[in-house]
């Protein structure tokens, strides 16, 4: 069989599959777009509620410790947003770049996601330390409380549980992203011997 005839046979076999999945695809796609917009809005909402809420509380109560809390919340929010903007700076691009350029972009996004987990974890533990110290001080001003009793109390136990979940998630996410990065780097290396086939 000649090379072109072989290709024609394959082409006919290949194009014999004409199924197109999912009716009402546009509806699903528009719904997903809305969800993505809502996620972005949720980030902004958290900023406004957290920052605005603590600021309003500080203004109303006029207590030094609530003012410290409000200032700290804004510092943490500013740190989070600054990092998010800086790390995403080179990662926004139209979806229609050619595949080679898109691969570079994907590698940048992956590296950015991995460094974001490091930053996020550091920020989380800073916030945790600050919040626990603040709450302990706040409660101690009303009535004396032992540190051990505070750290093993019900509400703080919930915080420990959240922290464990968060650490578990970060470890899983980092492993996933590292696997993704190594795959993309293997593709980008164009090494004929190291080409992934999955």
């Amino acid at each position: 069989m000649s090379v072109d005839a072989e290709l024609d046979v394959w082409r006919r076999e290949w194009q014999s599959e004409t199924a197109v999945p999912a009716a009402g695809l546009r509806g699903k796609v528009q719904r997903q777009s809305r969800i993505m917009r809502m996620t972005l809005m949720a980030e902004v909402l958290v900023t406004v509620v957290m920052g605005g809420g603590t600021t309003a509380w500080a203004v109303r109560s006029r207590q030094p410790d609530t003012m410290v809390l409000a200032a700290a919340v804004w510092v943490f929010l500013a740190a989070a947003w600054t990092f998010a903007i800086v790390s995403r700076r080179d990662c926004w691009s139209p979806a229609a770049l050619n595949t080679s350029a898109f691969l570079d972009l994907s590698i940048r996004r992956c590296r950015s996601a991995i460094s974001a987990t490091t930053f996020g974890t550091i920020l989380y533990f800073c916030e945790l330390l600050f919040c626990l110290t603040w709450v302990f001080r706040h409660l101690s001003q009303r009535e004396p409380i032992r540190l051990e009793a505070f750290l093993s109390s019900g509400p703080v136990a919930v915080v420990w549980l959240c922290t464990l979940t968060y650490v578990g998630f970060v470890l899983w996410y980092r492993r996933k992203k590292r696997a993704e990065l190594s795959y993309l780097l293997a593709l980008d290396g164009r090494s004929e011997h190291a080409l992934p086939n999955t």
């Binding site: 394959w10 290949w14 194009q15 795959y183 080409l195």
Partner: protein, 189 residues
């Protein structure tokens, strides 16, 4: 002053609705014209019908988001296949571990496409198509891209534009890809 501003807002709103409708119509047309090709391409990167549908939906979503920015600097098909190839790469990278596990489990399973209205006439071709798809899935990604685009009848020049490589590189990859595909199909016999 207020009435002018309100008029401007209303005018923008009025012009946005037809623009939106035009975008929707364009999206529907693109998907109707290229849906089977995109679905086949998605199938070459996934191991099950549900995964293929997921990837197809991801591609459709990326097309929907990128469509307003499309200024016609390449053909619609080039634009569409660029997005599809990019999404497929992202999908592969994201699901790397899961797919490797699945692949080992379903190494010997052959998933046939949905039955056609004329099952007897189409059965042999479907089985050949499924055999070809299985072999294509085993190709390294860089060859698979070129082979599937060629099987869709896309010219070297356009494939080079989609993938961001030179035309001679397309030729080299296609040659190697075909050679490997031939061997894989022979092994399946």
């Amino acid at each position: 002053m207020w009435s002018t501003a309100a008029d401007n807002v209303l005018a923008d709103f009025d012009s946005a609705i037809p623009a939106r409708r035009a975008l929707e119509q364009r999206f529907d047309r693109l998907l109707a014209e290229n849906g089977p090709a995109l679905s086949r391409m998605a199938g070459s990167y996934t191991n099950s019908t549900s995964d293929r549908d997921d990837l197809f939906q991801e591609i459709a979503m990326a097309v929907w988001q990128a469509l307003p920015r499309f200024r016609g600097d390449c053909s619609e098909r080039t634009f569409l296949f660029r997005i599809a190839q990019n999404r497929a790469l992202s999908y592969l990278a994201r699901n790397r571990y899961r797919d490797m596990r699945k692949k080992e489990e379903s190494e010997d399973e052959l998933e046939l496409p949905d039955p056609r209205p004329d099952p007897e006439a189409g059965l042999a071709r479907e089985q050949q198509g499924a055999r070809l798809l299985k072999a294509i899935r085993l190709l390294p990604v860089l060859y698979r891209q070129v082979v599937t685009l060629t099987l869709e009848g896309i010219e070297y020049r356009e494939i080079a534009q989609i993938l961001g490589i030179s035309e001679s590189n397309v030729g080299v990859r296609l040659n190697r890809g075909r050679h490997m595909l031939r061997r894989l199909l022979e092994d399946q016999r």
